[in-house]
Point group: none
Chain length 223, copies 2
DNA sequence: GTCACCGTCGTACCCCGGTACTACCCCGGG
DNA sequence: CCCGGGGTAGTACCGGGGTACGACGGTGAC
């Protein structure tokens, strides 16, 4: 019997996971936590086999909670659930010692098989994340492959660093500085620094013109 | 027996709702849809009493789907679920003819009582949204009838006047309020008034999102 | 070793953008 | 005739955006 601790700040989300897990005869829900601190405490008490960990939560977030759980030496495995597949948190989570990542819009069956895999000591990564993870860690590998495909960007964006291009992309999604900082795990001051450099390099006067430029250069494309 | 159509792009979220609803003996799930288009089509087929509508979905979003369902004349009620208590979504949804709004992190019991209220013809709004909605709608509240479907442009821009569309177009050129006022021979205060109404009508949070919308709806096109 | 670049974070400051009102004019329709 | 919608304009306020600094760790080039 695999025992699972559900960690998510949304009660309905927890409810869904609970119903799914309880419907399986080889799994049982050890408990539910609504934030990272609760998750750490309950893991120490209950010693579940698997912690189903949401990332974005008020207070202690899922990454830090994962780090503490892993550091505790407990043999509990942490399976992280990300909402978006572009979530930068995934990388942080790997470093934090998580045993896997799945996207929240995965099919229930995929989630179940992921939990079973993690419980048995394997690691799982959502297919849509695998590519990105491989890319991000490519340089830490033996590197026998070909050089990464050049970004091939528009001239006006040529002087931007990768990070700046990334920031510009999310600016093109309409995110505020505060949202960018939250979702990319940055201080707002850092975001402002990036945005400022983007404006300086591209000649855009403000973020509106920067976003327009992003569309015109097809860095982002209309929905 | 209240029949419910569940609309959400996340299978797990749908699963949770389904389990919750099926556990009630006065409710049954008529079906599930993963995006707005499916929702519209399935509503026309199944005529559920209530559509549980997520907002953020790939393709046709929940607001537009709501608008079409309401416009169809079907007596189906739409209950919108927002992930964040960002009132711009709620605002937009109200215009679209939704019968209620709840935040996704509501307790399951609150969700159930909300569905029952909507099914019986009442309207529900999450407490955290009520205040803002009342403020925003204080003077235009009596509108209970369905507004005539305005044609011509993209649905999300349909309610804009010609002048507002014009302003939005030049916003899409990256002009500041001051520039718009100068080149259109207007007072800056007038420009602000127009911009404010554009944001309110389209549900955009700021001019950046408005410009993105202008691109997405092809009101303006990349250079 | 040194240096340049990148990414990160902070503080302080100013201004534009956005909101919340109120108000007036013009026009077409009931 | 009055009423409503659209367009115009104003004031007051505040928060986020943008600027201008300075600072520090890591990394790759020379």
């Amino acid at each position: 019997m695999t025992t699972v601790l559900i960690v998510d700040d949304q009660p309905m989300q927890r409810f869904g996971f609970r119903m799914l897990l309880e419907s399986q005869d080889d799994m049982t829900v050890a408990g539910e936590a609504g934030n990272g601190s609760e998750a750490v405490r309950m893991t120490a008490e209950l010693h579940p086999d698997v912690v189903l960990m949401d990332i974005r939560m008020p207070g202690l977030d899922g990454i830090e909670a994962t780090r503490r759980i892993v550091a505790s030496g407990d043999r509990t495995r942490v399976l992280i659930l990300t909402t978006f597949d572009l979530d930068e948190y995934a990388y942080d989570g790997l470093r934090a010692g998580a045993s896997g990542f799945l996207i929240k819009d995965a099919l229930p069956e995929e989630l179940l098989s992921g939990i079973r895999a993690v419980a048995s000591g394997d690691a799982v990564v959502a297919p849509s994340l695998t590519r990105r993870l491989l890319d991000a860690y490519a340089d830490h590998l033996p590197a026998a492959g070909s050089a990464p495909a050049a970004p091939a960007t528009h001239p006006r964006l040529a002087s931007l660093t990768d990070r700046e291009r990334e920031i510009l992309t999310v600016m093109g999604q309409g995110w505020t500085n505060a949202e960018i900082s939250a979702r990319l795990h940055l201080a707002e001051s850092t975001v402002k620094t990036h945005v400022g450099r983007i404006l300086a390099k591209t000649g855009a006067r403000d973020r509106v013109q920067a976003v327009i430029l992003a569309y015109d250069t097809k860095l982002v494309t209309p929905a």
